[in-house]
């Protein structure tokens, strides 16, 4: 029993209630949000360390006997995901407080940003820590609900358009998830992950395959893997920069986490690994080709996001310890780097007045600092050594080559090509937006983009730059500490495939 497990869920909920009451007092609201998220980071980091040194941490909420009631579980995988996610959430929140003073406050007279943001954080934590499928569903619904509000905040025309697609897609996936849950319960009589891991192998293989496929479909929609990814580049780019950053960093990764968790724990013999590899391959290639065609920075980044989900799916599909370890490391890296890039896009919007490469030029002349802020994460995303992107990709490629089947080789080739094309898109964005002569808003050509928030450039507030810098620094920590981290993720992968999780959750005697 470890009561610390409730903190990452309860603390943000409490914070949400407090910030809602503090609506008219923005300063106090900001203070509470930041304090709450610092607390969550501390709790998450402690859990990650405990999961590593002591073993899998579990809590049966309300002290019901094991096997009844709600369980929260933190193994190494949940620990590292939770820590990285809450760190990124904190950085994004700090960034948004910088933006707050200038922009957000004018946009949203009722200050619902902070409460909603904290509710979303609680949902993400709940999904990571849930020990059963139903609470994972509830966690997903909490974070999705907050994301509906954040995405459609201030109700402008583009946001309503983006929001309606997003909401409808997620309603459908929620219904599918519930159907899958009913099927699981009918087949096994439980939704607890540890009990499912024991009972599922005993039921009819046909039913097993159906359950596995349904879960994969549901989480595939959330993780935005091709062909279920069309909603993402359509809905993310219209939201304000901090919102897009946290969506891109976290929400799709929760889907990836759920795929990782269910596919490894519940279906250890994994009949769908080939399907996962094909899906990973298609996601990488289709996503990056979409990015190549874009000129608006946020849309471009949304497509690279879809494309790089393919790498994680590839790691899961390889189904070896090395593949899973690399996938976990890559997820941690990608949460950080994708959020950073969206924050930089927000800074571009401020400095250049637009995020479309058709409209901005010479940003590196206007602000060399912004150029540096963009180029480091951009190169990291493309997988240029020695950054963490390179280390993650190297791990995945090594794992792919070790598997050595023709399909694994095909995915390896696709992964290398995608990396190259990512470099191409980043270099293109750099050429068009950062080089050349600066232009003023009046010189900007009309484009077909719907984002019409064009204005003269404004200086960057220190808080926004500082939090972006902090995230870049964190991605460098991921690079420098890659050795120990890789050890950690390797053991996380071993825990996933071994029976540690089931033993820790269901053990009658307290270890």
């Amino acid at each position: 029993m470890n009561n610390l497990l409730t903190i990452p869920v309860l603390l943000p909920m409490l914070g949400a209630a407090l910030t809602l009451m503090l609506g008219p007092r923005p300063r106090a609201q900001r203070f509470v949000s930041v304090a709450v998220l610092v607390g969550v980071v501390a709790a998450a980091a402690t859990l990650a360390v405990q999961a590593h040194t002591i073993g899998v941490q579990t809590l049966w909420v309300g002290a019901w006997p094991r096997g009844f009631g709600i369980s929260l579980v933190a193994d190494r995988l949940a620990g590292i995901m939770l820590t990285v996610a809450s760190l990124v959430t904190l950085a994004v929140l700090v960034y948004s407080t910088g933006q707050d003073e200038a922009e957000l406050r004018q946009e949203t007279p009722v200050s619902i940003f902070h409460p909603t943001f904290l509710v979303m954080c609680a949902g993400v934590s709940a999904a990571f820590l849930a020990g059963d499928l139903f609470n994972m569903f509830v966690g997903f619904e909490i974070l999705l609900f907050a994301s509906y509000v954040l995405l459609t905040m201030s109700g402008t025309r583009p946001r309503m358009r983006a929001g309606s697609t997003y909401v409808v897609v997620n309603l459908l996936s929620a219904s599918l998830f519930l159907t899958a849950l009913a099927t699981v319960y009918a087949a096994t009589g439980t939704v607890n992950l540890a009990q499912l891991a024991m009972r599922l192998p005993e039921i009819d293989p046909g039913t097993q395959a159906m359950i596995q496929f349904m879960l994969l479909l549901v989480f595939g929609i959330k993780a935005a893997v091709f062909p279920l990814s069309a909603w993402l580049p359509d809905s993310y780019p219209t939201a304000p920069a901090p919102v897009t950053a946290v969506f891109a960093g976290l929400l799709t990764k929760v889907g990836v986490y759920a795929i990782l968790r269910t596919q490894t724990l519940l279906f250890p013999h994994r009949p769908l690994t080939d399907l996962l590899l094909w899906v990973g391959l298609a996601t990488m290639i289709v996503g990056i080709l979409g990015a190549v065609a874009q000129s608006e920075m946020k849309r471009l980044l949304s497509f690279t996001l879809v494309s790089h989900i393919g790498y994680m799916v590839m790691g899961i599909g390889l189904a070896t310890d090395a593949g899973l370890a690399a996938a976990i490391y890559y997820t941690a890296h990608h949460i950080t780097i994708q959020a950073t890039l969206f924050l930089v896009a927000g800074l571009m919007q401020r400095v250049g007045g637009s995020t479309s490469c058709d409209r901005v030029n010479g940003l590196a002349t206007i602000s060399p600092l912004l150029g540096a802020l963009f180029i480091v994460p951009a190169m990291n995303l493309s997988g240029i050594p020695p950054f963490s992107g390179f280390i993650g990709k190297l791990g995945l490629l090594n794992a792919g080559i070790a598997v050595g089947t023709p399909l694994a080789w095909a995915v390896v080739v696709a992964a290398v090509s995608t990396s190259l094309l990512t470099l191409y898109t980043m270099a293109k964005a750099w050429n068009r937006a950062f080089w050349g002569k600066p232009m003023t808003a009046s010189q900007m050509p009309d484009t077909l983009e719907e984002d019409d928030d064009v204005h003269e450039g404004r200086p960057m507030p220190g808080v926004m730059v500082g939090s972006t810098l902090a995230l870049i620094a964190f991605s460098l920590v991921l690079t420098v500490a890659a050795g120990p981290l890789y050890d950690y993720t390797y053991q996380a992968a071993m825990t996933l495939r071994g029976g540690d999780y089931v033993r820790a959750v269901l053990a009658v005697v307290e270890p």
């Binding site: 139903f134 609900f145 459609t152 309606s164 697609t165 309603l171 159907t179 849950l181 939704v191």
Partner: protein, 142 residues
């Protein structure tokens, strides 16, 4: 485990009707679809529960004769979530109506862009209209 065929068939019909409504453009109809479908899915939980029994209250009922209370708890949660979703979608439909005069889910950005390009009769950068450099006349027209 025995389960009711009537429930399963009703769930199937409700879900089919819901999916049909989801394919509509109007947010209000989509909402109807979601409501009908979620009712169907909730019935699936009752199917998963097995045979209906007596109230699950310890002391008043023999444990053997009880219904399985867990799926009912899950359905309750699902109903609450659906209610919140409906409220949100209704708000969104109303806001769309305020902005656009209708509540339709609009096209993909990319689709809209391609249509706009076609209307402006633009060509891509890689397309070259071959002309003689000195006269400026089209090769094709000569």
């Amino acid at each position: 485990m025995t389960s009711s065929l009537a429930l399963a068939v009703t769930a199937g019909v409700l879900i089919a009707a819901g999916v049909y409504l989801l394919t509509e453009r109007s947010l209000t109809r989509i909402l109807m679809g979601v409501l009908v479908m979620s009712n169907g899915v909730n019935l699936l939980f009752l199917v998963a529960m097995g045979r209906a029994g007596r109230p699950a209250i310890i002391g008043s009922t023999d444990p053997e004769a009880m219904s399985d209370p867990l799926p009912q708890a899950m359905v309750l949660t699902a109903i609450v979530i659906t209610m919140a979703v409906s409220a949100f979608v209704v708000t969104m439909a109303y806001r769309s109506f305020q902005l656009n005069g209708n509540d339709e889910v609009s096209d993909d950005v990319e689709d809209a862009r391609i249509r706009a390009l076609a209307e402006r009769d633009d060509v891509s950068d890689s397309y070259e209209d071959i002309k003689f450099s000195d006269t400026g006349e089209d090769v094709v027209s000569e």
